[in-house]
Each structure stands twice: as C-alpha cells, then as structure tokens.
C-alpha cells in the first residue's frame, strides 16, 4: 500500500465556488490561462500566474500536504530548470520558465481535483465530438486523458520499485540499471493495460 495518496489526478469532493462552476467554464478558463502564460513574457507575469493558480487552489480548498506531495516531482523539475536557465540565460528567463511550469501544473491540478473523472470524461467527450469526422473517437480521447491521470501515481510507484531493485543490487549509481528496466516495465505495463481495456470492452 502506498504511504499516502497524492492529489494529482484525484478528485476531492467539495462545495466551493470552483467545484460548483460548470466544467465548460473551468476548462475555458484553464485554456485561456494556458494561452496567457505562454504569450505573456518575463518573470513578472510568471510570478502573477503562479500566485493566481495557488490562490485558486486555496479557494478550492485543496489540502496543502497532499497537493505538495503530488507536486513534488514538478517542483523538483522546476528547481532544476530555474537553476539551469539562470546559469545559461539569466534569472529573468529562469523565473519565467520555471514559474510557467508550476503555474500550469497547479492550474491543471485544480481542474482535475474539483471534477469527478466521470464528469471529466463526459465533458471531454463532448468537447472533442466535432473532431469525430476527422477520425478522432471522442470516448477514446476522453479515456486517454483518464488513463493519463491514473498513470501518474502508477508510474511513480514503478520508478520507486525499479530504483529499489537497483539499490538492492548495489547499482544505485548506474542510470542504465534504472532507466532500462523502467522503460521495459513501462512499455510492458502499457501493453497489459491495452489488453485489459480490450477485455473490458472499452474502446470496442
């Protein structure tokens, strides 16, 4: 059993104004927010975007500990990006790139944490229905998103298992001993998931 659930990809029931807002509105705001984050350059807008995303998460009353636990990999990545970009291109770029990353992930987390996956599936199916004529199956697209949400913690568990196995063999300093089995098991798992989906008649 895992030590404790992280928040990424997990619905948290509630009755806040964010929870009650129609899914369409939340998705539209998220889309506009994403465009704004990408278009507006410089460290100032990035900092404002992070503050806005965090404020929305607070309004939605997302539990702080679980949220931080789920965001830990993203925050670590953002720290590495901040250091690298600051070294290579100066602190304004470092703050902008890492801030944009954190803002987008926090905003996305607010939407998934305030929306039951079932509702998200229906909403996404409706949203991509016009693409059906171009060969994009709406249910398949929505299911892919749901699978991605479920896969976030599963991939984390998989990486921990592979890392522990490498440690047990004294290979903790060998990237190959960790990355190769991780990749092989991730592909194997995706094949098994595909087979299980077919067995459940999902996507038929």
């Amino acid at each position: 059993m895992s030590p404790g659930p992280s928040l990424l990809g997990l619905y948290r029931p509630g009755s806040t104004v964010v929870h009650r807002a129609p899914l369409r509105l939340r998705m539209a705001v998220l889309g506009l927010f994403g465009v704004g984050v990408v278009v507006l350059r410089g460290p100032g807008p990035a900092i404002v975007a992070v503050l806005l995303a965090v404020l929305t998460a607070a309004v939605a009353r997302l539990p702080l500990a679980a949220t931080l636990r789920g965001l830990r990999p993203v925050l670590l990545t953002a720290a590495v990006v901040l250091a690298y970009q600051t070294w290579q291109r100066g602190w304004p770029v470092g703050v902008e790139v890492s801030g944009d990353l954190v803002a987008l992930v926090v905003a996305g987390t607010v939407v998934t944490a305030t929306t039951p996956t079932d509702v998200l599936l229906d909403g996404l199916s409706r949203a991509v229905r016009p693409l059906h004529r171009f060969g994009v199956p709406p249910e398949g697209f929505a299911l892919a998103v749901a699978l991605m949400l479920r896969t976030v913690p599963a991939i984390g568990d998989l990486f921990t298992e592979v890392r522990d196995a490498a440690r047990a063999r004294g290979l903790e300093r060998s990237p190959r001993a960790q990355l190769v089995p991780f990749a092989v098991r991730a592909v194997g798992r995706s094949r098994a998931v595909g087979e299980a989906l077919a067995a459940r008649g999902i996507g038929d």
């Binding site: 659930p5 996956t117 079932d118 568990d157 008649g201 999902i202 038929d204």
Partner: protein, 232 residues
Amino acid sequence: MIELHAAGVSVPGTSGDTGRVLLDPVSCTLAERRIAVIGANGSGKSTLARMVNGLRPATTGRVVTCGLDVARHGAAVRSRVGFVFTDPDAQLVMPTALEDVALSLRRTVQDRAERDDRARLVLARIGLAEHAGTPVHALSGGQKQLLALAGVLATGPEVLVCDEPTTLLDLRWRRVVDGLLEEVDAQLLLVTHDLDAARRADRVLLVDEGRVVADGDPVATVERYVDMMALR
C-alpha cells in the same frame, strides 16, 4: 457456453524460423458451471483462456462463446465475457475505486447518478463499500484484485474468465477472492495453480506444452498433473 472447434494458436516465425505453436487445435464444448484450467507455466493455459473472448485470436479453427463466433463478433463477445487478470494494476484504469467500477457501466447506463449508485452496490457486495473514494493505487493487492473483479461483475457477464486471479495474493485475500468466485452466477473458466480450487471445479482441463492432455473429472485430472510434474 464455450465451444472450441479445432481452435488453436500459433505465431509466425521470423526469417529462418518456422514459427511456434502456442496451443494445438483443441475441440470441446465447455458447458459446466465451473471449469478449471491447470498446467505448468508457459504451457498454454492463458492462451486458451484468451481465445475465449478473442484477446488472443485463434489462428486455426473456430471459437464460439455465448453462441457468438468470436472472430466475427469480438466486441459483442467481450460485452458478455468478463476477464480478470493476474495483475489487477493493469486492469484498473480510473483514479478511484468507484470511478473504475462506474467505467464498466458507461456503455449500458447513461445516467451518471444511477451509474454511481449501481457501482456503489457492487462495491458493497464485495466488501469494498468504504473504499469507494479511495485512490486505486492506495489499495492493497487483495483489495485491487477485488476491485478488478467488481469492475467485471458490474456488467453482469454470462461467462467469467479468470487468469490466475489469486497468484499474487496472500492466503487471506486468496480465500476472499475464492469465496466470491464460488458465488458468481456466471459460468466460470478459472486458470489456476491452486490445485484445491481446481479440485472444487466441475471439470478440469490439463494443458501441457501447448496441448490439452487431459480433460474431465477434477480429482483424477489434478492427480494426473501432480504425477506428471513429479516426473520432471
């Protein structure tokens, strides 16, 4: 009802290789309520089980499940045949237990509230009611396998195929899953290494090196398997 008409599976070889037979053609009609399939690892048990719902298409012969030709009506067959895998992690695709069971009902129940209600009933039936909102990855191995079973039972399958569903479980969860499988109304095809479970079946198929080498009385077939393995 499962009918195998000279149904077998072989895989094409690569250059210079003639290919490999995974399962020799087998003909039989499986009408009993509980059928067990036993055999050594790699003997072809899972291939046989996967032919039943078309996950592994027969390359020779014909498979008819629930009166439908699997090759021609694969989707319709899979809507009538539930399948439980050894590793439940591959089978559980939604973030929480309730959502995963509800996913199984999406095709047949359009109303979301009704879907959730029915999913809760299924969870209660298998003893996971208090875990409805629990993230799937936070469940124990035994709870995950129960949930996988719940997702399958929610659709009311006519045939339930279980491919070593208790292999990864401890004794406690093995007993829980075995108990639930005893109670299901559907026809059960159980691939297993648990010889006690096989003895309780109505009929046992013994698969060895890609061939069904014995088929019939559970006690006699299990004894034959034990004798066969003792000689290796």
